[in-house]
Symmetry: C2
Subunit: 282 residues, 2 copies
Amino acid sequence: MQIINSAKDMQRYSDALRQQNKRVAVVPTMGYLHEGHLSLVRIAREHADTVIVTIFVNPTQFGPNEDYKSYPRDWDRDVKLVTSSGADCIYAPEPVEMYPEGYQTSVRVDKLTQHLCGIVRPTHFEGVTTVVTKLFNATKPHVAVFGEKDFQQLQVIRRMVRDLDMDIEIIGAPIVREPDGLAMSSRNKYLSAEERKAAQVLSRALFEIRDMCAQGEHDALKLSQHVWQNISTEPLAKIDYIKICDLETLEDVTRIRRNAVVALAVFFGKTRLIDNIILKTA
Amino acid sequence: MQIINSAKDMQRYSDALRQQNKRVAVVPTMGYLHEGHLSLVRIAREHADTVIVTIFVNPTQFGPNEDYKSYPRDWDRDVKLVTSSGADCIYAPEPVEMYPEGYQTSVRVDKLTQHLCGIVRPTHFEGVTTVVTKLFNATKPHVAVFGEKDFQQLQVIRRMVRDLDMDIEIIGAPIVREPDGLAMSSRNKYLSAEERKAAQVLSRALFEIRDMCAQGEHDALKLSQHVWQNISTEPLAKIDYIKICDLETLEDVTRIRRNAVVALAVFFGKTRLIDNIILKTA
């Protein structure tokens, strides 16, 4: 496993591959890997000769009262998992290399970031788009794979890539779930046993309205009320938002006329979980 | 002369060169080329096998009351000049291709843009950094050449490239001046004969304090007062700003302790001209 820490070294590695006509894929992560990440690596492998996994807990995408310091980290375990996943290289820069003194540049996507998580995490997506731009410039990929669990992030990155003429194919990968339906997330580690059990309610509620929609219920208000009531039966759950929105613009829809997404953020104790599911009209 | 209008075609052109191990340079321009631009092409040629000139009058770097619509354009003349300059390719995208409906992404450099021209043109540099990012992503250069006449722009771009880990060498090229000292600019075309003559005062004033500084006058206040008084003798000149600042941070200096830059913007009628010169301590 090749482990690279500096952008310059990363660029030389990728340049050499491109010289040999190899296709390069990148899977950006914040580490503490789980089966969801490994599924991204496998998808990346289908699209490229060489797969780079980036591991960087990006300080600028955490708000001042969020969990940057406590975000779970386990370098040795991550290296083992990346190795077993069949990736070729880890790019793991240090925060001080990424944001040295005098650093002052940002990349921002405007409208898409003003919905869903962007409302309660107003600086989050600017942190994401900026660091992803840096990771792209360092790894120089042909293709990049992101999980659909962070649905808004995926759409924001697609927009950024298109708007800035980045020559990178963005692939969204399906959510990987635990056997009981909970979407895999590094933050699941924070949950107590009781919260972990309670968190099942999220996927259950989402699956139900996916089926209701498929069976002809296209009134978005009714569907979101159903999710709301469902989750409210769980005393440990504190709803941040539940939204049904257009896949492209992320604007609220009142009626499902074409495929839409229902996205939610719900606290269990101090842990904020997100999940989503696509609602199909036919 | 290869003329390319779409980002995708531009990327394929540049990819093919990179595959052949050719070094690619880009010279971004807004067209209406003059000897200053051509000097950039010659410098680019020294650093690369292939030189791409971009011609794009970027709407987003003009303020609402600025000269976007009247900015001088002469496509046929530009093509002839680029051809004669020894460049290999022109990248000339259309505004609607650069900023299609739904476009919403920007690149911003924070501190450096809050001095000098950034004060009176608050949206200008965000327009510049965003379009330059797009031009870089389309042309995929190893090296890019910018004129030192737009000194702040050059420093802002250097900062952006460093901060975002863009793998591009940025070269600053010396100001090219008319025989009477006026810095070459596409906007000089706007000047009446009388204003054109009056505008000589700018370079004269700058040359004088460059010499004063070299001879030991390091008091920045005295030096800038000298320029101010010099230019004020010209009744057609209306000073926007005259600043002596640190080369790196663009913050005002009170004493020239290491190399600094004196930068100015002065109106002649409706035409706003900028110029600058490096002040060397030894």
